[in-house]
Amino acid sequence: MDSRSWTSTCSGGTHVVGESRVPIKQGGDIITARQQGRALAAQLGFSSADQTLIATAISEMARNILVYAKVGEIIVRPEHNGKAGITIIAHDAGPGIPDINRAMQNGYSTSGSLGVGLPGTKRIMDEFLIVSEVGKGTTVTMKKWKT
C-alpha cells in the first residue's frame, strides 16, 4: 500500500485525525482510496450510510482519474471550521474536460459508460466544485458535513 497517512496530537491532547493522500495509478488504488475515506469518515463519526456515500464518491472520482487521466491522486482530510465534515480532493494533470456543463449532465460519457459518475457524485455530496482546463488537468473538491 503506497498511501500515506498520519495522525497528530493537539496541545490539549485531543486526538486529531490527519489528511491522507492516495496516488491513483492502477485499479487497486481505487479500493485503497475509498478505504482511507471510509476510515476517516468513521473516525469523524459519520453514520455508516454517510460513510458508504463518501466511499462511493471517492470510488467514482478515482475511477475517472484512472480512465481519463491515467494517474492522479485522492486527498481526504477532516474539515473543522465551525462544523465538522470531510473534504475530498481528486486531482490529476490529465487532458482536462472541454465542456464541464456537458460532462455534468446525466448520461453524458465519452467512454461509452453510464455518465453517472460526476452528476451522481454531486448529488451525494454537500459541496462539489470541479475545475478543469484542457491540457492542464482536473480537480474536483467535494465536502460532506456531519448532520
Binding site: T52, L53, A55, S59, E60, L114, V116, G117, G120, R123
Partner: protein, 124 residues
C-alpha cells in the same frame, strides 16, 4: 481466482469476498459466462453481501453480467445488496435494471427453484 464459484446442482453460486478490483470483476464475468456453458447451468447467483461500495462501474458490470448469462440461457439473481449500498445506488441514480435481486442467498435459491419448477411443469 478472487471469487470462488461453487456448483450446486444446476446452479452456480459466486460469492464476492471483499472489495474487488475492476480486473477481478472483469475476470469473474469471463469465468462465469464460460462455466454456464460447461456445466449445464440453469441459474446463477451472485452474492454481493461482502461488497461495501458499489459504484457505477461495479453496477454496470453486474448488470452486463446478468444480461450476458441470460443470453447464455441461465437465470441470474444478485443477492445480498447491503442497506447502505442500496441507499447509495439510489442516491447516485443507478439501477440494476433488468437484473433480478433477492434479499440473501436463501431467497435467491428459492426464487430460482420457483422459476425452474414453473418451467418444468410447463414442459411436461
Amino acid at each position: 481466482m478472487r471469487v470462488p464459484i461453487l456448483k450446486q446442482g444446476s446452479y452456480l453460486i459466486a460469492s464476492i469476498q471483499d472489495a474487488l478490483s475492476d480486473e477481478d470483476l472483469a475476470q469473474l464475468q469471463q469465468e462465469l459466462v464460460a462455466r454456464v456453458g460447461q456445466a449445464r447451468t440453469r441459474g446463477v447467483i451472485i452474492d454481493v453481501t461482502a461488497l461495501d461500495v458499489m459504484d457505477s462501474f461495479a453496477c454496470r458490470t453486474l448488470r452486463d453480467l446478468a444480461h450476458t448469462i441470460t443470453l447464455r440461457g441461465a437465470e441470474t439473481v444478485i443477492v445480498g445488496i447491503q442497506p447502505d449500498v442500496a441507499f447509495a445506488l439510489v442516491r447516485l441514480g443507478l439501477s440494476l435494471s433488468g437484473a433480478q435481486t433477492a434479499l440473501d442467498l436463501e431467497d435467491g435459491l428459492a426464487l430460482l427453484d420457483q422459476h425452474l419448477q414453473r418451467g418444468n411443469t410447463r414442459g411436461r
